[in-house]
Each structure stands twice: as C-alpha cells, then as structure tokens.
C-alpha cells in the first residue's frame, strides 16, 4: 500500500465515522434514572391470576384443545 492509498483509506474511514465533537450528553441522566426507579413494577391483579389459573386448569382438563390453540396463536 503506497502513501496515496493510505491517505485515500484514511479519508474514507474519516468520512464513514461520525465526528466525535457533538457527542456530549444533552441532559442529566440522573433525574431520568430516578423516575425509572420510582416507577411501580408491573402489578398483577388477583383477577388476572385467577384467569391464568383457569386457563391452565382448562388445558390440563382438556389437552385435546392444545393443538387448536397452537393453530390460532
């Protein structure tokens, strides 16, 4: 690789990579982190758990339903 090719390769690499000058953070991330920590985790209501249990019981009681359910998922 001669000098001209090296310069050409260097120019190609520099044009492909974005400049690093404006990469500074635009805002403080800590308030966002605190908001995320304050967010309540997903709460599953008793009604949803009861429904899930009912569905599980249905599959255990009627395993012949499973191919039909898979067919429509």
């Amino acid at each position: 690789m001669n000098q001209q090719e090296k310069e050409k390769l260097s120019a190609l690499l520099q044009s492909a990579l974005p400049p690093m000058g404006d990469r500074a953070l635009r805002g403080d991330l800590w308030p966002r982190m605190l908001r995320r920590l304050d967010r309540r985790p997903v709460q599953v209501a008793w009604f949803d758990l009861a429904l899930a249990g009912l569905a599980a019981a249905g599959f255990i009681a009627f395993p012949a339903v499973i191919p039909w359910v898979l067919f429509q998922c």
């Binding site: 997903v42 949803d48 429904l51 899930a52 009912l54 569905a55 249905g58 599959f59 009627f62 012949a64 339903v65 191919p67 039909w68 359910v69 898979l70 067919f71 429509q72 998922c73």
Partner: protein
C-alpha cells in the same frame, strides 16, 4: 415519536405473535421430523404464519382508532380477537382438510374459544400494552 401512529400500532400488534411463532415453529418441526405425520403439516403453518400476526396488527390499529373515544380496556379488546379467529381458523382447517380439525369435536372447538379469550386477554393486557406504551400509543 409523534408521526405514523397507525404504523406503530400495527408493529406493536404484530410483534407478540411473530415472536411466539418461533416456539410454534419448533413444535411443528418436532411433530414433522419426529412423528412424521401422514398429512402435509406444512399447510397447517399457513394460518398462524400469514394471518394471525396481520390480524393482531390490524386489531391494534382498530384499538388506536377507538380508544380516543370511550372504549373498553386493551385486554378486553384483545379478548375479542378469538371470536373472529376461531371461525376463520375452523373454515381454513376444514377447507384444507387438516386431520386434527376434522377429528375435533364441537366440544373441543367450543372450549377453545373461552380458553383463547383468556390467553388473549392476558397477552394483550400485559405484552401488547407494554409495547403500545413503549411506542407511545394509547
């Protein structure tokens, strides 16, 4: 993300069945190669592959269009899908002559509806709801 809300709604709706389809694929492949059934099982894949994700996407678009007015919650909206899906699946299965469809009794078919409605209710409430929230829909 303020633009193209219906496209985002479609994408959010399509994601869950598309991911779940991988597991269904595995089940079908195991049946195909391990059990080697008599009937062409590949044809069975047409319905879950082609229609189900599209129906989910369109149904989520319908929810987006409706939820600005007074409307039912997302879980209940999703639980309505099997009421459309089961008859369509039944017609498809009968038309293509799937053995398990021809062998299934009406009891099995009727039992499928409430079970699917429960599953759809939970999946739409938690998974599709999460994706909708993430994509800024509803």
């Amino acid at each position: 993300m303020k633009t193209h809300p219906y496209l985002r709604a479609y994408m959010a709706g399509v994601t869950v069945p598309s991911v779940f389809l991988l597991f269904v694929f595995v089940v079908f492949c195991v049946i195909r190669f391990a059990c080697n059934p008599e009937f062409p099982i590949e044809r069975v894949l047409v319905f879950p592959m082609a229609l189900v994700p599209a129906i989910w996407g369109v149904w989520n678009m319908v929810y987006l269009a409706m939820h600005t007015r007074r409307y039912i919650p997302l879980g209940a909206h999703g639980a309505l899908v099997p009421l459309i899906l089961v008859p369509v699946a039944l017609v498809t299965a009968k038309a293509l002559g799937f053995e398990f469809a021809l062998a299934a009794s009406w009891t099995i078919v009727i039992l499928t509806v409430p079970l699917l409605m429960i599953i759809y209710y939970l999946v739409w409430k938690f998974l599709v709801g999460f994706l909708n929230e993430m994509l800024g829909i509803a």
